[in-house]
């Protein structure tokens, strides 16, 4: 038997101080299985030990928030007795090791967080960052990730309706795969994970347990022979068919009154689900592992407690309902097993083959979990960009920009995702700034988007954090929907480096300010740290997933324009080229300060635009983001297959600056809109009009055919994968 000591603890990821705490809590040396439980519960992933102190600063409350952070997913009231349940989660590391399965199981995991709460998943999104497209490995990863997301999402029948993709060499060895799921539940039928009821059975539902994804730490144990292939921690393979059965089985069971508590088995599988359920309920739990459905022979208690096999749930049931529950679960051909019961001991007791493998007091396991306020070093404020040189003609700059990997069409990606299954998708990818999904049987719809601009965050984490939140708010607003709340996925480097922790703290500060100013709280989220290869960190990437609601979906607008409309620019333009794509793609520079975010202007301009949309004055609307005004106009022309004649005068900074809080609005009556804007004190100017032609005509008279523009825009991915 392996000697459990400080060295072994260290190889399990527990430092000397943490090991000391373990000894103190246990009052003896822990068993091997107990050490495993401590190590995963106190891992960064489960304990948020580096991030917790900062996450507390995010606003999480609003009258419409039903459950904020702390549950499996956030829950908000969206009217008509319905709730939106949503969360975003990363699967970065697994997606680099095995892109297809890593991304697929990422989708599976986030779906479970949502239907665990009683919600039927109605939309998936994915925020992706990849390395330099010139590297062959990037192509392999992009291909695998996109296939994996599609392979899983398409099969479970949840439409993938949006997302984002960026490329940057900082992600070369460390791509980011952040998946978001939104589900719908009745507000009076939300299921939580707090266990209750001494004697109630603890029930295992779903796939059998194998040795999948057991904590890397196990490699250090002499129970494993590193040369023995069979016992290596294995890559998790997703089984979307079983997930689909699990969704239907759980939702059917949730129609009954059988469930006391329910929790998916995610990271650290049986350990974290049982510890969290019992811990939240303030009760104890006893597990008998002999009864766990097993896929492989000879599994140890340690392996079963740490396995990350997918497509499994843990339930606490009312005892008198357990046979009925079994019938429902087995109808869906899933495993069902009573593997323990709730106790009043305040302890988790794990038995296997007649022996007690673990017996740990729950309160200290969570209360004494390490919490670090790690040193931070603030990113120095970047100098504002001075005047820039550059004589690239407007048309050439446009054609080059709209073709670059960060701005080109994502059609190749979203064409591989089923975006219509469910029959409620009102706006699919590239039709509006946020995806619009109707709530079946109502006139109401959700507007959903993900966004962050990592090049801003690395230059100025606080402004970048603000901007990420503000851009999702703007995306939702541009459809006519009211933004309600966000989920976030904080992807950063090694938190033990003060400059990384500094990025984290500042980004949180900026996000918090934006959430506050926009009445747009955080209701769920995820933190992914140590995203580094060979000491080089990724760009700090706080991905934001925003959700809004529109009460009358027939009023929602997209960004496709049609002939006979005038184009009005709403918001102030200074010509901010710092950190812009124009600077990077046309001038080959990545310096300067990102565009400042004026949250008051953001709110004012957005509320104005939304009111105009809901009043029926607006035919199409597009927020101005990456690439600036001219890119926004070009995207509108392509989406509507409609020509544009631009009239406003301006330099490159005017057309390509990335000033915030701006929209392009297509209206019948520009004068009326300008008048309303003036009355509200909102800057607005007419910039051109649409024409029944196949050309985009620039203010200098140069015309670009839409075909040429489309060729440039659509070319990158198909050529890359030809």
């Amino acid at each position: 038997m392996t000697q459990v000591n400080a060295d072994l603890a260290k190889s399990f990821g527990l430092n000397a101080e943490e090991w000391g705490k373990v000894l103190e809590i246990m009052g003896r040396e822990p068993t091997f299985t107990e050490l495993g439980i401590f190590s995963v519960m106190w891992s960064e992933h489960c304990s948020y030990k580096s991030s917790r102190v900062w996450l507390k600063e995010l606003p999480t409350k609003a009258p419409w928030v039903i459950h904020g952070p702390g549950e499996n997913a956030g829950v908000i009231d969206i009217g008509e007795g319905l709730a939106a349940v949503f969360k975003m989660e990363s699967h970065n590391h697994p997606s680099f090791i095995e892109p297809y399965q890593g991304a697929a199981t990422g989708v599976g995991g986030i779906l479970r967080d949502v239907f665990t709460m009683g919600a039927r998943p109605i939309a998936n999104l994915n925020a992706l960052r990849f390395g330099d497209p010139k590297l062959p490995v990037t192509k392999r990863v992009v291909d695998g990730v996109v296939r994996g997301i599609g392979g899983y999402g398409n099969c479970v029948g949840v439409p993938t309706v949006g997302g984002e993709v960026n490329f940057h060499p900082a992600y070369n060895g460390n791509p980011l795969v952040n998946a978001m799921t939104v589900g719908i539940a009745r507000t009076d039928k939300i299921f939580l994970s707090a266990a209750a009821g001494v004697g109630n059975p603890v029930v295992y539902v779903g796939s059998k347990t194998g040795r999948d994804g057991i904590h890397g730490a196990t490699m250090a144990s002499t129970e494993f022979d590193a040369s023995s292939e069979e016992k290596r921690p294995t890559v998790q393979v997703g089984d979307p068919f079983t997930e689909k059965l699990l969704i239907e089985a759980c939702l059917e069971l949730m129609q009954t009154d059988a469930i006391v508590a329910i929790q998916d088995m995610g990271a650290a599988g049986l350990t974290s689900s049982s510890v969290e359920m019992a811990g939240k309920g303030g009760v104890g739990i006893e597990l008998v592992l002999d009864d766990v459905p097993q896929r492989e022979t000879g599994m140890s208690a340690y392996e079963m407690m740490l396995s990350e096999s997918q497509e499994r749930m843990l339930l606490v049931l009312k005892p008198e309902r357990s046979e009925m529950a079994r019938a429902i679960i087995e109808k869906w051909d899933l495993d069902y097993a009573i593997i323990g019961h709730i106790t009043d001991s305040g302890r988790i007791v794990v038995k296997h083959k007649g022996a007690i493998e673990a017996d740990i007091p729950l309160a200290p396991l969570s209360d004494a979990a390490p919490l670090y306020r790690r040193p931070t070093a603030e990113t120095p404020k970047p100098a504002k960009l001075g005047p820039v040189e550059g004589s690239t003609p407007l048309d050439q700059a446009l054609l080059k920009l709209i073709a670059c990997p960060d701005l080109c069409s994502r059609r190749w990606i979203y064409d591989q995702y089923d975006s219509t299954v469910g029959g409620q998708t009102v706006k699919r990818p590239a039709q509006a700034d946020a995806a619009i999904v109707r709530l079946e049987g109502t006139n109401r719809a959700l507007a959903i988007t993900t966004d962050v601009t990592p090049r801003y965050v690395v230059a100025d984490p606080e402004e970048g954090g603000k901007q990420a939140v503000a851009e999702t708010w703007r995306n939702i607003t541009a459809t006519g929907a009211l933004p309600l709340a966000i989920t976030d996925n904080m992807n950063f480097g090694n938190p033990e480096k003060p400059e990384i922790m500094g990025q984290f703290a500042s980004a949180i500060k900026g996000m918090a300010a934006a959430c506050e100013a926009l009445d747009y709280p955080v209701v769920s989220g995820n933190v992914s740290l140590y995203n580094e290869t060979e000491g080089r960190p990724i760009l700090p990437t706080p991905a934001i997933g925003g959700v809004g609601v529109i009460n009358d979906v027939s009023k929602a607008v997209g960004y496709a324009i049609a002939p006979g409309q005038e184009l009005v620019l709403v918001g102030q333009t200074h010509g901010e080229l710092g950190c812009s794509l124009y600077l990077r793609e046309i001038l080959g520079r990545e310096d300067g300060a990102p565009p400042p975010v004026d949250l008051d202007a953001e709110r004012r301009n957005g509320d104005f635009v939304r009111a105009q949309i809901l009043a029926g004055h607006v035919a199409a609307c597009h927020d101005i983001a990456d690439g600036g005004l001219l890119i926004a106009v070009a995207e509108m022309a392509l989406a509507g297959d409609t020509g544009v004649e631009l009239a406003a005068a301006g330099d490159a900074a005017f057309w390509f600056g990335e000033d915030q809080a701006r929209y392009v609005v297509a209206v019948r009556d520009a004068a009326a809109l300008l008048k309303a804007a003036a009355a509200a004190g909102i800057p607005a100017q007419r910039i051109g009009h649409t024409v029944n032609s196949d050309k985009l005509t620039l203010p200098n008279g140069v015309a670009i055919s839409l075909a040429q523009l489309r060729d440039a825009h659509e070319g990158f991915f198909p050529r890359w994968f030809a």
Partner: protein, 80 residues
């Protein structure tokens, strides 16, 4: 010369397809069926005439492309 490359999921890696087939065969009344695993077979026509060289080439192709060695193992056979 023909090389036949057999690619199977490594032991311990979940095989959802194999599992589903097992289940379907049971439902069809084939009670005698135990574990089912599903893999791929790739038949390659090779210009090579030396069996050892053909085998080595096919193995290289398997490592580089045909198998995903993170989760799969492979076996090459040479047929006349």
């Amino acid at each position: 010369m023909k090389a036949i490359v057999n690619v199977m999921l490594k032991n311990g890696v979940l095989d959802p397809q194999g599992k589903a087939i097992e289940h379907a065969l049971h439902n069809l009344g084939f009670a005698q069926v135990g574990e089912v695993r599903m893999g791929k077979v790739i038949e390659l026509e090779l210009a090579e005439i030396d069996p050892a060289k053909a085998k080595a080439a096919a193995e290289e192709m398997a490592r580089k492309l045909l198998a995903n060695t993170v989760i799969e193992s492979f076996k090459v056979e040479i047929a006349a």
